[in-house]
């Protein structure tokens, strides 16, 4: 783009080499930003790809799937498809997750298939044919013996398992001992990944282990996209029993992709935030190097170097350093990505679907994207300083004071553009598009950072008399020197402010959320004891438990009341996403459930439910586009066919991000042939100790049912643990952004102070002690930290407000109450002060060592 003569290139290189510290800071700024982007990208991509592979391995080449409600699909339908419709490319599947106790409780999908029907569908399984006899024997056993499974060779090797070994699998309240009848040797990596989470079983075994006798999870079909295919679809439709429907295969999978999109977007936004902070860093460094080289640039101009070439030199320098930064950033990003994958996977698993990522993919695209963004951001940040460099007159006499004067003149412009950017951003929040909203958040942050020079000016001018009176000369000097180097200080302050306000915003958001979840738990779970099967996913409880378990609980002395609930996925026609339906016979909230809309008081809602109405969670309504208003209905596919349920209330619910539809058990049993329950709640009679009753229940279950019996308190705690886990990634990213900001301010302050070496030399020569100089430096930096904290308070509050009321609501559909607690601000202020103080220590130490004579010699 800009050709640079060799001589200039050398000038540029020398400049870089002469200031290794600044170069390092520049590189660090770029590297950290890039690393964050790459790490998050890798984490997201790996989790999604793992899910994609998993879906692929499940769906195979199927184009359509026949699915049913809680009781699945009757197996007779499969026979009908083969015998009556003569369909050949059709395969039955019985599958569910179970926990492998010997494999550290890892969830494995038991995937039950009919090997005779599989060939057209999932060609990904491959028996190691080292010994064909052994294979035939193992296949015979696989088909005829109970509890036989096939397992991937790699997975077996990982846990030191061999053919013939047994595995204890826990499915809901029961354990099964399964025997590995053979090992699968996947032919390629994708297959290998798909198989990592699976135990392949004959369909008969899967039915027996997963309690699916007579039923199938789904029926897979390959139907060509031709007129004949259409006709076949119509013939299949015609014989589908009530409660069963045919869907395009993978529809659920893509729905899952949409669900996690919001989650991914927020992560990406957070990683971009790190880059924004990094850009401040870059801007600072480039400005500094330009300012320092003013005399040289002036000389160069005098020698006939054009403005264009000067501009090019600065930009090239930035690009060069950026490339180095990008290289480090990519390496760090890949390393950090491996860590981030673990955190992201945990969150995704607890919120959305079970996913195990064993292979961290490093997509070239992510690296390329990170590199491009890094270089572009660096060049962008360097543009303004580069332009400024071109304004250096050939005489080279322009002094810092001239620049500062110019900057002072620019303050109103900056402030006005800040106001403008903030205004536009706030307007953008009105658009209900998450991407636009995230851009608006950036806008708000950047807009407010443009207020920094003005606020700094005003605050420091106002503070000067006061601090002068309090601390004396140093108190007079420090604010002035901040104002004097406004071009530098304000940028450092802005960078710190951004980081701190993000901390305030995110802590306030997470804190409010946590607070609401706690309140909701207290409101809705008022039973003393809660019993559930050890589940695999944190937010769902859909493993079937026999209803007689509730009778056992009822019979325990000290149990006053028992309530049962059943959670199942059901189908909402024309909605690819399943609907989580929860049937309850007694409300654990005892009437204190909170609603965002309801037909009348709680009694009215409960009796409407008794007559066949449902309650819909707010999140569900928002995500599926059901207006939160009177007169709404929801149509579900039941075992009696489609049925439209009136909605009696929209409830506040944090049990999962996809929301739930709740109805009463007797209504559920009317529409679904599913006698099972999922969880049990028990109330303890007065005069009995909850812990005693829990022990009694555990004793009654002993050996027969493996169920988790928890006190109300334990349950609430475990929910909060999951909550904290979910936000672990947010906290981690937040922390990283702070680190970037810290490095930013460190670099800015260090540069600033180093730049003033001569000034300090003069001060020392005039009798200022080392100690005084040290104190002056620290005073200056902590003042800057204070300014950052002051601006961060309103900005952080606005961010929190936006995150709570706009981003969260639009991403997930939860209405949260913004709870602003002083500790969020205190914490942020502390971070700002500590960061700035720490950042001041190194320069202060350096300055303290200045030998006045040497410093002045340059003069």
């Amino acid at each position: 783009m800009l050709a640079l003569p060799n001589s200039l290139r050398r000038v540029m290189l020398r400049a870089v080499l002469r200031r290794p510290f600044q170069a390092a800071m520049f590189i660090l700024g770029v590297a950290l930003g890039v690393a964050m982007i790459v790490a998050i990208d890798i984490a997201n991509a790996s989790a999604l790809r793992a899910f994609g592979i998993f879906t692929e391995s499940l769906v195979g080449r199927a184009t359509h799937q026949i699915v049913g409600g809680p009781s699945g699909v009757p197996y007779e339908l499969y026979r009908q498809l083969r015998l009556e419709l003569g369909i050949r490319e059709v395969a039955p599947v019985v599958t569910a997750y179970a926990q492998a106790l010997e494999l550290d409780g890892q969830p494995l999908r038991i995937f039950g298939i009919d090997p005779f029907a599989e060939a057209p569908f999932r060609g990904y399984l491959n028996l190691g044919a080292a010994n064909a006899n052994a294979d035939i024997n193992s296949l015979t056993a696989f088909l005829t013996q109970p509890n036989m499974v096939l397992m991937a060779e790699q997975l077996a090797a990982q846990y030191g398992l061999q053919e013939g070994d047994t595995l204890t699998m826990r499915y809901g309240p029961t354990r099964h001992t399964l025997t590995i009848s053979g090992l699968l040797r996947p032919s390629d990596d994708v297959t290998a990944q798909g198989l990592q989470d699976m135990l392949i079983a004959d369909i008969s075994t899967a039915q027996e282990v997963l309690n699916m006798l007579g039923r199938l999870t789904n029926i897979d079909l390959i139907i060509p996209e031709t007129a004949q295919g259409e006709a076949l679809l119509a013939r299949i439709q015609a014989i589908l029993p009530a409660g069963v429907t045919i869907q395009v295969a993978g529809a659920r999978a893509s729905a899952v992709g949409q669900i996690t999109a919001a989650f991914n977007l927020s992560l990406t936004a957070l990683s971009l935030l790190a880059l924004v902070v990094g850009m401040f860093l870059i801007y600072n460094t480039v400005t500094f190097s330009v300012v320092q080289r003013r005399p040289i640039i002036g000389t160069l101009r005098a020698l006939g170097v054009t403005r264009r070439q000067i501009f090019g030199m600065v930009v090239w320098e930035a690009a060069l350093l950026a490339v180095i930064g990008v290289i480090f950033g990519l390496i760090a990003g890949v390393l950090m990505g491996r860590l981030a994958v673990i955190i992201v996977t945990q969150t995704v698993s607890s919120l959305y679907f079970t996913v195990t990522v064993r292979n961290v993919d490093i997509p070239t695209f992510s690296l390329l994207k990170g590199a491009l963004i890094g270089v572009a951001a660096a060049i962008f940040a360097a543009l303004l300083p580069a332009y400024e460099a071109t304004t250096t007159p050939p005489s080279g006499t322009l002094k810092r004071s001239d620049i500062e004067r110019k900057v002072r003149r620019a303050v109103p412009v900056a402030t006005l553009s800040g106001v403008l950017i903030v205004a536009v951003s706030l307007a953008m929040l009105g658009v209900s598009n998450l991407e636009v909203n995230f851009v608006a958040i950036f806008g708000i942050v950047i807009g407010f950072s443009l207020f920094t020079p003005l606020v700094t000016l005003v605050l420091m001018s106002a503070l000067r008399p006061l601090s002068g009176a309090l601390i004396g000369v140093l108190g007079l000097m420090a604010p002035r020197s901040i104002i004097r180097s406004l071009s530098r200080t304000s940028v450092a302050i802005a960078a710190l402010m951004v980081a701190v306000s993000v901390i305030v915003g995110i802590s306030a958001m997470v804190g409010s959320f946590r607070n609401d979840v706690q309140g909701w738990l207290a409101d809705t779970i008022r039973a003393d004891i809660l019993i559930s099967p050890p589940s695999i996913s944190a937010v769902r409880q859909d493993v079937p438990v026999e209803p007689r378990v509730a009778d056992i609980v009822r019979s325990i002395e000290g149990v006053a009341l028992v309530g049962v609930s059943r959670s199942v996925d059901v189908i909402r026609p024309s909605d690819p996403q399943p609907v989580l339906l929860t049937a309850i016979d007694r409300d654990t909230s005892m009437g204190t459930r909170r609603f965002v809309w309801q037909i009348g008081d709680y009694e009215a809602v409960w009796s409407a439910l008794g007559e066949g109405a449902v309650m819909v969670s707010e999140t569900f309504a928002r995500q599926r586009g059901i207006p939160i208003a009177a007169g709404q209905t929801i149509t579900l596919l039941t075992d009696r066919g489609e049925h439209t349920f009136p909605i009696a209330a929209f409830m506040v619910d944090y049990s999962g991000d996809q929301g739930t539809v709740m109805l009463r058990r007797h209504v559920y049993l009317q529409y679904y042939d599913d006698p099972y329950i999922s969880t049990i709640a028990a109330w303890v009679a007065p005069d009995y100790q909850v812990s005693d009753v829990i022990s009694a229940i555990r004793a009654a279950f002993d050996g027969k049912y493996e169920l988790l019996v928890q006190s109300n308190r334990d349950l609430r705690e475990s929910v909060l643990v999951i909550f904290d886990q979910t936000f672990a990634i947010t906290t981690a990213l937040n922390l990283l952004a702070t680190v970037v900001a810290f490095i930013g301010i460190l670099s800015a302050l260090a540069s600033l102070q180093l730049e003033r070496t001569r000034e300090f030399g003069a001060m020392r020569a005039n009798g200022m002690t080392r100690r005084q100089l040290f104190r002056l430096t620290l005073l200056e930096t902590s003042l800057m930290g204070a300014i950052a904290a002051v601006i961060a308070v309103p900005v952080g509050t606005i961010l929190a407000w936006v995150l709570v009321y706009i981003i969260n609501l639009r991403s997930f559909g939860w209405t949260l109450t913004l709870g602003l607690r002083p500790e969020f601000y205190l914490q942020a202020a502390l971070v700002a002060l500590v960061a700035s103080l720490l950042a001041g220590v190194y320069p202060a130490w350096r300055i303290g060592r200045i030998q006045p004579a040497r410093a002045l010699r340059i003069e």
Partner: protein, 395 residues
Amino acid sequence: MTRRGILTAIIVISALGAALIGVSGLRGQAQPEFSADVVAALSGGNIEGFARVTGVKEFSFPRDHGAHPEYQTEWWYNTANVQTADGRRFGLKFTIFRRALTPTMPERQSEWATNQVYFADFAIADIAADKFYFKERFARGAAGLAGAQTEPFAKIWIEDWSITFDQDGQGYHLRAAEGEIGMDVRLRMSKPIVFHGDRGFSVKNKGEGNASYYYSFTRSLLEGTITVRGEQFKVSGTAWFDHEYSTSVLGEDALGWDWFSIQLDDNREIMLYQIRLRDGGVEPTSKGTFVNVDGSTLFLSMARGDYTITPLGTWTSPRTGAIYPHGWRLTVKAPDGLLELEVQPFMRDQELNTTTAYYEGAARVTGTQNGVPISGVAYVELTGYNTQTRESYSR
């Protein structure tokens, strides 16, 4: 040794192989290996625990048309030479096989659990067009997908392919369709059931229990519709039906066999075969059955010189590279004089390149008896010519 023992064994193994391949996605590649080693395995102790055919039994129908799951292998074999009203010829072949994977089955709750595997071949030879079509399928004998019932009438089925007996037991109905071919034909038995060997007790070799129960409908009159590439043909003709079950063991020295079912136009039928041995000789127990016009039968022994089989030429399969004999001169010592016959397949390529490749072809029969010209139709089955299969025997 009965003619289809080896074939069945191979196909059974292949069925397992196919199931395995269903699991492995390595269709075709891994299969010969399975055939090989499992045939070897079958000549070992795999029959342990299965019921054995040890003596003459009283057949009872329709019950015995059904499955005998305590025996390891069983098949229902249909071949037919048919033609349209204007004389366009077709060959039909439809067999359902059953194989028990284990002699007993642990108690299982799932209706899908079974030790019975069913598989089937269906082929049509479009002689005028010189085109041969074949299909095969496998299914578990459970969940209603495949099986055999005898009440209220006998029916053997694998998914939507079926052999259904009429209530009176004198006729049956064959239905099979897939892709470009299909058939829906009704048959009436024109002759009494022929029980091979000693009243259906067909000794295979000298070992105790090495025998099968084996009966045939040697001439069934067929009427119905077949479909070839979307075109329907009303056809009629004569069909042959075999039902045989056993817990058989293969001779280690067997290489393959040549089997003939002949329907002469004068209403007589002949079944005969020879098992070829690895040393180039012929299994001495190779035998046949001669069926008179009235349905009475005559035992034919190859060792005794009751019949001879002389190949006249060869045909090389372009797909498998197997070199099959093509055209034979047969002599059969009938009670009323020596039959001198020439059997020529109606078309060359009638090889079923299914999981295990073999030849099953419709053929024209010409010849003389006592100087009088005679003619008829036949089906010829040739196994053990596929190089890969043959190699597998020698292991």
